[in-house]
Symmetry: C2
Subunit: 407 residues, 2 copies
């Protein structure tokens, strides 16, 4: 039975990583819409940040050397001349033994290389006593200290954070080159599945997978095209596949029974597609299909909601990352902690175990949630999941595991 020759998780991820994809579409979006998008090219600074030497405090711009050795009891004596406000352009220069009052953010006069904070001076008319020795550069941001001209400030393939947007703003970049959002066609299937808006008659259940998967994808910046629910009939599955043939990837959930899997594989092959793997040595999630159809990646996901969600997180998201143009592995956080109980598992199968995390002083505890793969409510309760490798027969209490956050 073909289904029993399951592909390993490792091999499956390799097949997904090497699936040939076309060129990503790129476009420019306004800075206001760039958060969460994937930067399509390196951003090179065409100017320096800051563009001039700036004061970081309210105080007196001086030549630092004029303050060397100054103390409360033996202050340095300077002459205060004028003031520079924030935003003001100045061509003033400062001679030896002179100082100019500058506000926070103000441009510094030429030849000054430090700012004495107001707390460290005594002033009487133009006479200024500096009661503290200043280091060169103290309380100053030099021109180009943040970003110098020609510097690569952000690398292509990054998901743009609020702080990246700040860097782009600083450089005056109001149109940002980003990759297009992947369009993902999503099909649910199964005679037992009804849309959420319908009351299921006895024997039927509501369509959960469309909702979890579409939201997982939307959270990762995808556009989801919902094709609805296909009955367990070859013609319906083919019709739904054709409906979303223009998408960048197609996901079909619900082929968990032998009969359903056969329909899905027959439909894919009938439309000219090629199966790349068919059955994984993972739990939950064994009845997973991956294929190439019309040059596009197609996943057949298990019908059980937890299995479907786990395969989406573990196998579909790496492909989403590729379709987005995102640098692999970037922006992923895991939490390390110690198992509070033994976790049994089957040798030869990679298991995904939902868990909650408990933070204590000096240690992080991971508590497995043992539940069947049909129990969707555990995904709500779990903080994340950890992996029991296929080469292990379970993990012992106290072992450190790496938890992948769910949300």
């Amino acid at each position: 039975m073909e289904f029993l020759t399951a592909t390993t998780s490792h091999a499956a991820l390799g097949i997904i990583a090497s699936f040939p994809l076309g060129e990503r579409q790129t476009s420019y979006v306004p800075l206001e819409e760039a958060r969460g998008r994937i930067l399509a090219s390196d951003i090179i600074a065409l100017e320096a940040i800051p563009p001039f030497n700036r004061s970081l405090v309210d105080g007196y711009a001086v030549k630092a050397k004029d303050t060397y050795g100054a103390r409360e009891s033996t202050p340095a004596l300077l002459i205060a001349r004028g003031e520079i406000r924030a935003g003001e352009f100045t061509q003033q220069s400062v001679g030896d033994g002179e100082a100019i009052y500058v506000a926070t953010g103000a441009m510094l006069p030429e030849a000054t290389d430090g700012v004495v904070m107001q707390e460290h001076v005594r002033r009487s008319d133009a006479d200024l006593e500096v009661t503290r020795s200043l280091r060169r550069g103290e309380n100053i941001c030099f021109a180009g200290e943040d970003v110098h001209e020609g510097q690569i400030v952000l690398e292509g393939g990054r998901e743009l954070t609020p702080f990246d947007i700040g860097v782009l703003a600083a450089l005056g970049i109001t149109r940002v080159p980003v990759y297009g959002r992947p369009k993902i066609g999503l099909i649910s299937s199964g005679d037992e599945v009804v849309p959420v808006c319908e009351a299921p008659s006895p024997g039927k259940i509501r369509d959960i997978n469309t909702h979890t998967v579409s939201n997982v994808l939307a959270a990762k910046g995808c556009e989801v095209i919902l094709a609805g629910i296909a009955r367990d009939a070859l013609k319906e599955i083919e019709e739904k596949l054709l409906m979303v043939r223009e998408s960048d990837m197609i996901l079909l959930s619900g082929g968990s029974s032998k009969g359903q899997m056969d329909l899905v594989t027959t439909a894919i092959e009938g439309l000219g597609g090629t199966l790349l793997f068919h059955g994984l040595n993972i739990k939950p999630g064994k009845p997973t299909i991956f294929a190439s159809l019309w040059g596009r990646p197609v996943f057949g996901l298990p019908g059980h909601p937890v299995s479907c969600a786990m395969v989406a997180l573990r196998f579909v998201l790496p492909m989403v990352q590729r379709l987005r143009g995102q640098t692999p592995g970037s922006g992923e956080w895991t939490i390390r902690g110690k198992l509070v109980t033994n976790v049994p598992s089957s040798y030869g199968i990679e298991e995904y175990v939902r868990a909650t995390i408990e933070r204590e002083e000096g240690s992080t505890k991971v508590r497995p949630i043992f539940a069947k793969s049909s129990v969707i409510s555990t995904l709500s309760k779990a903080d994340g999941y950890f992996v029991v490798p296929e080469g292990k027969e379970g993990l012992e209490a106290g072992v450190e595991v790496e938890v992948f956050p769910l949300a």
Copy 2:
């Protein structure tokens, strides 16, 4: 000088946590738009999930007791009668010594309490040999095993994840009670600041804070109302405050110099507001103001981009959480790791240090980024920040710190 009587971080968070807020607005949104919203009330299941005993596999529904003791060499002998497909309503019942073929997801006939997988039977016509003993409940999800009627499945105050949406879908909840998105008025100020679309003349810089802060807020589900840039003039600051008086909270960035802070406090008090704190014992972020104006919280944020961002993350977001109706502290992840270098800090000041995280086998390393508070590019490079408590003069290499992720 009033500014020097800085409020502690702890006291400031207490003031923010106890600021009196009005009732949150609630509304119903379609399930398709509910991700990331805050659930406004507990969700109680009005039905069981699953609504009937379901098979988790393809196989034969049996009475488990009929298989007790079965082995490869001494199989249990049963009579196979008919088949139930997924989605089919059945009123069949199974007698002692009988079995019915069921597909994955199918409703189980009454009186059956286990499903033998196909791999563990031998069949010839109606004669079925079961080669393995079954536990009661094996390969079944019993009615209500996921969610039972009357159970609180999701608690109000949660930020809805894709998996919560799945639970709501399972229950047929297509309209979801959520709190309204907070409306945040955002003002930038300073004579030195120009909008991003303008080329700054010498002495001026582009407005960064509007972009970082608005994106931090948008990422947390806020609606941001941009009031633009106020010059350093009382009248302009008052006008901008009045422009956004209908928002749930007002943020004004840019009051880092003594002169600018005075203008901001004068404007707030002139419009009838009350200062609640004015200067924090933190670094970066000391020149932070918090006030009540028109019954709404108002923050005066520092002008330096990093200071502004840190105060937004550390002090504004807890207020955002309250305005959203979110359960405090929920959905926050931190990463624990060991410092790779000593970190100096000033006694009596709580310091926030940006850092990168390096994962190694068995350990997590935290590498501080030392940079001035004007250097926005470090926020792009940092994975997060950690806190040096005010009671410490620095932290030593090897100490474990808790890193708050930035993005």
